[in-house]
């Protein structure tokens, strides 16, 4: 699965959780929490949605890998395929 396809799947999940946010200008290199109103409960929601939708498990020690969009894609990309 290519970079943009993985990105779109992540955007779709964030859109459901961060419902008030404009996701059209996310900078992939910047921490998501620095550009969106996301807190720890939102990240738990993201992890839960990954499991529900794609059966992807993200162990707690890997949570830092979800910090930026780029790191999300690098970490989750192989798991999607």
């Amino acid at each position: 699965m290519d970079y943009n396809a993985v990105r779109q799947k992540i955007i779709d999940i964030i859109a459901e959780i961060a419902v008030d946010e404009d996701l059209s200008n996310i900078d992939d290199e910047v921490r998501l929490r620095d550009q969106l109103d996301l807190d720890s409960m939102d990240f738990l929601d993201i992890v839960m949605e990954l499991k529900k939708r794609y059966k992807i498990e993200v162990p707690q020690e890997d949570y830092p890998k979800l910090a930026t969009m780029k790191s999300c894609i690098e970490y989750l990309g192989p798991k999607f395929s």
Binding site: I17, V19, D20, M41, D42, L44, D45, M48, K51, K52
Partner: protein, 413 residues
């Protein structure tokens, strides 16, 4: 307690959502104009049932994300709290948020969230690892008050008071007591309910033979009518701003009324059936606390849910207490909105409060043939009664035998 300006407590703001109105003006107009808020809704596993649902704008004071994270009861509370503060003329900038208390009566909390989570669990083949981490914060009993605290940034005490369907009155009573004790300087108090979101409450009443029905859903709740057959489950909320009289006078606040007396007691006889003698005792003790006689009361708002025995018992109690008063009028509200559970007492008080200024007493609804056992003199049935109103007595009773009576009088400078 001898009341003085430090301990006299007044109502200076009202915020509410009811099935037939999203603010006091709308609600009052609906009650005077005989407008029902009962509709029909598909209830999980049960089919279409009569229900009292509210249609306030959840996003007026709350972000979508926080609504998604929280509960319907929290959302109702946040709406009512903002509306009450706005109505009082106070603002978040002008109040001392550390010295503000939030006390909300609830019949129950957590049924809706637990039931939905279990439903999801079954959709997910009982995979408990998909159980939401939101479950616990959504279901702790202080959630509705806590959501208000989070939303408004109020850092004083914020908690709920579980008191079945007597809770709306008791939230207000508790708020008044906290002001009298000097624990806080400003109070947001009342009652809320989200219970139309859970099939279990409908099913429980149905199994008990106490779920109201009618081919015309607007007539499903018919308190005091000979054909009544039970409760219509409703949601809603009413939150009042309470202040000590001296504080309200100092800032020139609009004063809706003064809390004159109250009483809370317990039947100690049955899980669900009411006890007439304890209701008599509760009303009598509240009148004593208010230092008034039955003849001084202009309106008694019945709890009257539309169940056969509940209405009968309460009418007997009211008939006994007000036997010597020919100037007390009786009304009830649930025929319009159903039974809003923890919100009921607070909403029903709110619906009558404008009587102090418009001098009208709203009617009951859907009494076509009065049950002789519920016959009361001066029962308002039809057009509103025009009368000067100085004192309102509000009954709210609940399961496990809890009774609450609240007396509010017109504020006269």
């Amino acid at each position: 307690m001898t009341l003085n300006k430090h301990t006299r407590v007044v109502i200076t703001g009202v915020g509410l959502t009811a099935p037939n109105g999203n603010n006091l003006k709308e609600f009052r107009e609906a009650l005077l104009g005989q407008k029902s808020g009962i509709t029909e809704m598909e209830v999980r596993y049960m089919g279409r049932l009569a229900v009292g649902n509210c249609n306030f704008n959840e996003e007026l004071y709350q972000k979508k994300k926080m609504r998604r994270r929280g509960t319907r009861a929290g959302s109702i509370s946040i709406y009512c709290a903002h509306e009450a503060l706005k109505d009082s003329g106070l603002s978040l900038e002008s109040i001392d948020r550390e010295r503000t208390g939030i006390y909300l009566g609830i019949t129950e909390h957590g049924n809706v969230e637990t039931e939905n989570e279990i439903y999801e669990l079954h959709q997910n083949n009982l995979d408990v690892s998909l159980w939401s981490h939101h479950h616990n914060p959504r279901t702790v009993a202080n959630t509705p008050a806590g959501e208000v605290s989070l939303n408004l940034g109020i850092t004083g005490p914020a908690y709920t008071i579980g008191a079945a369907c007597a809770a709306g009155n008791i939230g207000i009573i508790h708020g008044m007591q906290m002001l009298q004790l000097g624990e806080v300087d400003l109070v947001l108090a009342g009652g809320v309910s989200e219970c139309t979101g859970t099939f279990g409450i409908f099913a429980g009443f149905k199994s008990q033979g106490a779920l109201g029905s009618h081919e015309d859903p607007t007539k499903a709740c018919r308190p005091l009518d000979i054909s009544r057959n039970g409760i219509v489950v409703a949601e809603g909320g009413a939150i009042f701003v309470l202040e000590r009289l001296q504080d309200a006078e100092k800032r020139g606040a609009k004063i809706y009324g003064e809390i004159a007396g109250y009483y809370v007691n317990s039947d100690a006889v049955d899980f669900v059936l009411p006890d007439t003698q304890r209701q008599i005792q509760c009303m009598t003790a509240a009148l004593k606390k208010a230092q008034i006689s039955p003849r001084d009361v202009d309106i008694v708002n019945l709890h009257a849910t539309g169940t056969v025995s509940g209405d009968e018992n309460e009418c007997e109690a009211v008939r006994t207490v007000f036997a010597e008063s020919d100037r007390t009028y009786i009304n009830c509200t649930k025929g319009f909105i159903g039974h809003a559970m923890g919100a009921a007492g607070a909403l029903e008080l709110a619906g009558n409060l404008p009587s102090f200024t418009d001098n009208k007493i709203h009617s009951c609804k859907h009494i076509e043939n009065i049950d002789p056992k519920c016959a009361l003199k001066n029962l308002v049935n039809g057009d509103p009664v025009e009368k000067e109103v100085n004192v309102i007595l509000n009954n709210s009773f609940g399961m496990l035998g809890i009774n609450s009576v609240l007396i509010v009088k017109k504020y006269i400078q």
